[in-house]
């Protein structure tokens, strides 16, 4: 009890002990070791690097992102230095993060099921604490076809390929699979990746969307379509997490539209184990993590919650709530 009041935000995620449930989401300032360390210093309990693929990608031309009023839209286009170079960056990031006590998540994407396994094996050399498998980026559809997150079969095939590629390692890192919100039944996808051996689920990635400038009579993004994040995504994300939490017994990184401590509490109540934070960095600066931590702690104190674990799943139906508390 004493420990809890001193550090009420400390919480468990898989085998990891986090000092805060806030997780820097992939693709937000996770492009360098120094920026990952900055998010950690600002108060993130765990940080996720930008997704990397098999080979370097420049990404899409400008405009790549903007704040359209109800949220953000982006089509960065998975800019990354390729898996080999990324592994070196991740190793350096780990070195900077270790003294801060903040675990590192590597994020990977690929164009084929087999390539997912190859990229996972390469980034695993840097010994990240978790590998997040991004099967849900909406911004590269032209090259890669429907995101793998669209069907239970393809989502499971990628999960399985990554598990197999890591199995031969002496200490394989756990794997979280990142799901897309724009599917008819996200619970089905969650069950499929759970059966294929995922250790956790990250939900959700951005929602495909478009912003048109009426005077220009053009979509604003050079890629024309992009992913919606920020406030507009929050209700979508809450619902997705709520469905997944009832479908599987895996821990969930609940992500989408969390800007404040109360938003984070809502995400935990929907069934998230920890809470991803991305767009908040635009709305509140990199200091967002410190602010959200303080607000969450304040909310918990005011409402009489002693730990993050007490919030988990509170908004689920009673039966699911009890099951979730017992398992995750």
């Amino acid at each position: 009890m004493h420990d809890r009041t001193k550090a009420p935000l400390a919480c468990d995620f898989l085998h990891l002990r986090l000092r805060s449930p806030l997780v820097l989401a992939s693709g937000i300032i996770g492009t360098s070791p120094t920026l990952l360390a900055r998010a950690a210093r600002s108060g993130a309990g765990m940080v996720t690097a930008k997704s990397c693929g098999p080979t370097p990608r420049a990404g899409h031309p400008n405009p790549v992102a903007l704040d359209w009023g109800g949220g953000l839209i982006n089509a960065i286009g998975l800019t990354n230095p390729g898996a080999e170079h990324e592994a070196a960056l991740l190793a350096e990031a780990k070195r900077l993060l270790e003294p801060l006590g903040v675990p590192l998540v590597a994020s990977i994407f690929a164009g084929t099921v087999a390539e997912f396994g190859q990229v996972a094996a390469v980034v695993a050399q840097a010994q990240p604490d978790l590998i997040e498998v991004n099967i849900s980026c909406p911004n590269v559809g032209d090259e890669f076809g429907t995101p793998f997150a669209g069907l239970p079969e393809s989502a499971a095939a990628v999960t399985d390929a990554v598990r197999r590629a890591l199995a031969s390692l002496p200490q394989p890192p756990p794997v979280s699979v990142k799901l897309a919100p724009n599917v008819p039944d996200i619970a089905r996808i969650a069950r499929a990746v759970a059966e294929a051996g995922a250790d956790a689920i990250t939900a959700v990635n951005t929602m495909p969307g478009m912003v048109i400038d009426a005077e220009a009579a053009r979509p604003v993004l050079a890629n024309r379509v992009g992913g919606i994040s920020g406030p507009a995504l929050k209700p979508v994300a809450l619902r997705a997490v709520y469905e997944i939490a009832q479908a599987v017994d895996l821990p969930i990184i609940g992500t989408g539209g969390v800007l404040t401590g109360v938003d984070a509490a809502e995400m935990l109540m929907a069934g998230a184990t920890v809470v991803g934070v991305g767009s908040a960095v635009w709305y509140r600066g990199v200091e967002a993590f410190a602010q959200i931590n303080a607000e969450l702690q304040q909310f918990m104190a005011a409402q009489g919650y002693g730990s993050v674990a007490e919030l988990r799943g509170l908004a689920l139906p009673p039966a699911a709530r009890e099951r979730r508390c017992a398992h995750v």
């Binding site: 492009t31 120094t34 405009p63 992102a65 953000l72 005077e215 220009a216 050079a222 991305g278 600066g285």
Partner: protein, 254 residues
């Protein structure tokens, strides 16, 4: 609502065009924007692209553009009445301390663009303003008459010696400081990164406060994509573009 819409592009029309030198022109737009000197906008031409430009004026909005590549050349093809879309103002601009004192502005190349805007604000706030304007050759100097007309005390430098002191902008530094009308000088600089680093080093050894308008490759301009990182984790679009020291050597994270 206007706050929430700060991130959307808004269309402006070109109201007039000033030719500044052979390669540089100022687009004077048809409306104003509440902004500080040193802040920037993302200028979008549909089907062409989007790039960052310092505000060379806010009332009305002015952009001073050097034609150096595809996008800046496209901006040079705009005629009076044509549209240009801007999102912003973005980033942190110059923040003159109080009370007012002596401001030494240092500008190289098109870096002079925001300094005229800054000089206007400083003079209105009671500052004494001097400026060093540097360029490669006399023909590349920018906004010299405009600054002189404001009453700014000017030092010119050219690398070939065709006008003013032969050398770099930093070579006029001590002369400008010696002639300063008062002891409390704050240095404001904008220009190529090499010049900014040299100005920062001079200010460090002389114990002068400095504000530097940095540049980096900008993409999202909303602090998320990481492409404008400078030094150990600084985001030029959110933390800058104006920094209180050289962000590549100082500003250790707390």
């Amino acid at each position: 609502m206007s706050e929430a819409l700060a991130g959307l592009h808004r269309p402006y029309r070109v109201a007039s065009i000033r030719l500044e030198n052979a390669a540089t022109r100022t687009l004077v737009l048809d409306r104003s924007l509440a902004a500080d000197p040193g802040q920037f906008v993302m200028a979008w031409l549909p089907d062409v692209g989007e790039k960052p430009f310092s505000l060379a004026g806010a009332d009305p909005v002015c952009l001073t553009v050097a034609a150096v590549g595809p996008f800046s050349r496209a901006l040079h093809t705009l005629a009076v009445g044509d549209r240009i879309w801007l999102r912003g103002p973005l980033g942190r601009g110059f923040a003159p301390p109080s009370p007012a004192g002596h401001a030494l502005l240092v500008g190289g190349g098109y870096g002079v663009a925001p300094l005229r805007f800054l000089a206007e604000r400083l003079l209105a706030a009671g500052w004494h303003v001097s400026a060093i304007v540097g360029a490669r050759r006399a023909a590349d100097l920018l906004l010299v008459e405009a600054l002189a007309a404001l009453g700014v005390r000017l030092w010119l430098t050219t690398e070939d010696g065709s006008v003013g002191l032969r050398g770099l902008a930093t070579d006029a530094f001590d002369a400008a400081l010696t002639a300063a009308p008062e002891a409390r000088t704050t240095v404001f600089a904008c220009g190529p990164v090499g010049m900014l680093a040299a100005v920062a080093a001079l200010c460090r050894t002389r114990g002068l406060p400095v504000q530097l308008a940095w540049e980096a490759h900008m993409r999202c301009a909303v602090g998320l994509c990481g492409s404008c990182e400078v030094g150990a984790g600084w985001l030029t679009c959110l933390d800058g573009p104006v920094f209180p020291c050289d962000p590549t050597v100082a500003l250790p994270m707390g």
